[in-house]
Subunit: 200 residues, 2 copies
């Protein structure tokens, strides 16, 4: 048993956003630490033959409503960012850059990206937004902007996406506890129970 649990998410996943408020606290309650892995869902959607929820007939309408209903139930703000959906490359790369400097602060950065997108409705495709959030958390935004153009950081994200596919991750949020997989914000209750009981 590892002390770590793995949390995969896409920065433009509303259900990942909801989970981002809770996952660290759930893990901490059971003496675990969360390894955050921002990924891009595009390749997973290709693997399972799916696409972003809002683009699917019927499910899209339902989901748009469910995002808001879930936000009200969980007591968190919710706005759709203007460029939704899309591949949030810059934010994900910025996370992997920050993670090498300070992994705890990198999680705070991830939460701040999520809040910028879904609590404030800001556009994560705007590099200015990514830079502002980076500064706000106390990282050097100019260094970040240079770093995310390097192959080293680009490859970090590529590798993270590939690792997630290799582990069978196909959605966001996706949590793996000692090899046990949980898909979706709805599964956080089970994640909590699993950590509490060691499984059933």
């Amino acid at each position: 048993m590892s002390q770590l649990i793995d949390f995969y998410f896409d920065f433009y996943s509303p259900y990942g956003y909801f989970a981002s408020y809770k996952i660290d606290e759930i893990a901490a309650r059971h003496g675990r630490t969360v390894n955050w892995h921002p990924i891009l869902l595009g390749p997973a959607f290709k693997a399972v033959g799916s696409k972003p929820l809002l683009e699917i007939p019927l499910i899209g309408e339902y989901s748009a409503h469910d995002f808001k209903r879930t936000a009200r139930l969980e007591g968190v703000p919710f706005i759709m960012p203007p460029t939704f959906p899309g591949a949030t490359l810059a934010a994900a790369r910025a996370f992997y850059w920050a993670n090498e400097i300070d992994s705890e602060k990198a999680k705070i950065l991830a939460k701040a990206f999520y809040k910028a997108a879904f609590a404030e409705g800001r556009d994560l495709f705007d590099l200015k937004v990514v830079a502002e959030v980076t500064t706000q958390i106390g990282f050097n935004a100019d260094e970040m902007l240079a770093a995310i153009q390097t192959d080293a950081i680009k490859n970090k994200l590529k590798q993270a996406v590939q690792d997630s596919l290799d582990k069978g991750v196909f959605g966001s949020p996706f949590i793996i506890i000692d090899g046990e997989k949980f898909w979706g914000n709805d599964r956080l209750t089970q994640v909590d129970q699993w950590l509490a009981t060691g499984g059933w």
Copy 2:
């Protein structure tokens, strides 16, 4: 506000099976009655461009595992029926036939079909199984077998499937409370909360 809430499900939906144990009790707790609507998900899958869970790469494996894990968590037996997946026409038609005779007993029949399939792993494509379950609940199986061949009963199921599509139903289980839609066994907690509070 209607006193009724609508419960849509496919007889070969494991998550519908799990919900079938709980939905009446949840509704009754809040003075509501459940209108059961067996449907066939084929047309909905066509509408949303999806297919049965087990046939989807990655999601299929995850789901097969999740069915068993959910069953253990909810404390109900679970076996995959031998002909899964498929369109359970006979069982669904038998329900609509029984529903005209005794709607309360028809719900008991629906629960018994679910248990035959997923608690006992019996084949709902075998008319003998459908007939045996029908007899067991106290209906006349010969009358049922004759009735499900008639246009009148065939059309009842057709109409139910069409109605479900018109209402935006695209999965199983699917619950509608005063126009508010809830998709999935995972949403039963919210169904309970919605009925308790009148919504949020």
